[in-house]
Symmetry: none
Subunit: 206 residues, 4 copies
DNA sequence: ATCTAAACGAGACGGTACGTCAGGTCTTGGT
DNA sequence: ACCAAGACCTGACGTACCGTCTCGTTTAGAT
């Protein structure tokens, strides 16, 4: 089940302006909301059929605009967390990292939080290369970029040793986060955030 | 599809010595081998039916001893990598870590390596809580333990700062590994191993 | 495996005119034809899977409209023999009965005839009360009615003694037919038809 | 699932008198009793596994002596009804027939009677030619013979017309019985017995 | 005001894999 | 050699969900 593009289907710009009935924005909203609701209630109960029924929509209306249920959920997720990325980096690095992680953990771990959803999407990315691409580019990459920005600011403030491999550091931090989320061998609480932030800060200290 | 226990079903030791036909060890081997073969060839083409056919075995014989195809593959994987864990830690820490990561990356990335299989199992653990448990306990935990041992040796050699949160460090290192494996945004090569090892070693240096 | 209703699922007439894709009549035909073919070739090789494959149809499409393979075959049989019932009764009774039996025996005994199929359906009716009902009502009852009509005509012509229990006579005649078909201790040939017709005619003669 | 021989497995008479442990007659009884119990309780719940469990016996012990569960049940049935055949024929024919039918109907229709069992065996005979043979020879044939004897006595008493096809008459009578048992469109009560007997007697009257 | 192409709710369709079930055979260790 | 237990192979079953394909209806923009 390859998945390739997201929401708006490819429409060559120069073709014809438009004809026929316009897309029903209400249906789009209903679908996204239904998908997110179902995902938060019980990820395993998420299916195109279920989304369609809850949204009061035909299955084809979903397949017309998305290539799979995961594309739907990802789009819903992206809308929901669009403004969540706090990029303020007032320094020092350890504090910025701790804040970043604490905020992220909060959004994930809160009851009704996005944790199960994120896990499910990451899981699907392992099975569907097409989805893996948009998952990587639209969800993971921005979060890596946000962390890179925080680290870059620290570099600018001269808080770091020279020759730092920022990319690797980002992977250490985000990796720890995801690893704990996916394996559930340790909690994602504030203590964890502080521990990880402290280690990461020490790793780059001059 | 909940998954709970692994291969040998719970048989209280004191109950009865045994009666009836004994388990066919050949069949067990054939099943595990078939599962591993199929998984390495094409993880997505892995199904109970396919395993049964290739192993020359009835489906029921698989369901009698395992709860899902993932239990089978996990057991096969565990047998295959049982002795892979190199726990030698001659120090210094950075070198030990680099070796650990390099070896691990090699087993994963080699053509015909276990990378796709690991990804698929990690993915399934997100969907099946029962499998998640045995995955965590039988596969992930031993690898965390191996790393903890390496770090513990470094502590013993006095290479580390006091007050180190070893668990968090393990999660940074393994997390980075898994994060790159799952998201595929960066290669798992020797340079990556060295980068990660260097950062980790710095993070704990006194 | 209870079986309850036949082909068209109950749709209350006043509810809704219809929505969604209409039933595919071609598929219906293919299924019935495939079922009948398979049944005539080898009743024991009849299975939902086989029907589906030969009809070029998904199994679900069969289960959507019928409750079991026997419902399918019965419907196919009913279509095939719909007009087989010769109800002409020119008298005298013995001749009419002989003709009725001869024709029936021919349809049953002919190579590629419905004999094995009828036996299989009668057998299944013993195991599935739901199927027994439609079998009785849709297949057996019409044949009893046809015989009753023949006998009724003879009564009208004054060929019979008063106080005749027509139902019992029908059961004697059809019973003899089925008994021989099911037990196979004696042939179903024209001589048999004449013997049975003669005895039945004598039984009701004034 | 062809079924061929009944209880005692083919043992060439001249071979060896006997060696090894003797057949466990208790097990045989337990098996037959368990089979009959299950058959009378709920024919559909009858299976080799179930019989074995209730008899406290291994499945193999059943398959060693019988070829299928139906052979078992048939043997149990034959033991149970061995002496049921009342062959007294004091005349006149109509009365003898009525008595024969009434007694048979009673054994079948009584709650806990053999009706469902007979139906199930007749059904199985349609699916298994091997069983059909022993069913015909060991169960049906004796009952036909009993009726033939009754009719033969009537012939001897000069109650019948010349040129009577006794076989056909038997099939009319037993056929009516079986037809009503298998299709259940009419009761098997005393009135039915009298109706059938009356018609049959008239059919052969001089 | 009409025409027309597209979107829509509904739901039937072909397909794949699943997990279950019963039948009949084979093997173990004990009697 | 028999037995109870129970693992084994086989093959069909009925279910679930997927993604596609009609239906007949609705709606917006072009004419």
């Amino acid at each position: 089940m390859p998945s390739a593009a997201q929401s708006p289907p490819p429409r060559r710009p120069g073709s014809r302006p438009h004809t026929g009935r316009a897309r029903n924005e209400v249906a789009r909203r209903e679908i996204l909301d239904a998908a997110m609701e179902l995902a938060l209630e019980d990820v395993s109960g998420l299916g195109v059929e279920a989304i369609a029924v809850r949204a009061g929509v035909g299955k084809q209306t979903i397949y017309r605009w998305w290539t799979s249920k995961y594309d739907v959920v990802l789009e819903a997720l992206l809308e929901r967390v669009r403004l969540t990325l706090s990029r303020t980096s007032s320094g020092p690095l350890e504090k910025d990292l701790a804040r970043f992680l604490t905020e992220t953990f909060a959004g994930i771990g809160r009851p009704g939080g996005t944790g199960p959803l994120l896990r499910s999407l990451m899981a699907h990315a392992q099975l569907d290369p097409g989805f893996a691409r948009i998952w990587r580019e639209d969800f993971v990459a921005p979060r890596r970029a946000a962390l890179l920005e925080i680290i870059g600011a620290a570099v600018g403030r001269g808080e770091t040793a020279p020759g730092l491999d920022s990319g690797a550091l980002v992977d250490l931090v985000l990796g720890a986060l995801w690893f704990r989320l996916l394996v559930e061998h340790a909690p994602l609480d504030e203590a964890a955030a502080r521990s990880i932030a402290a280690l990461a800060a020490r790793a780059v200290a001059p």
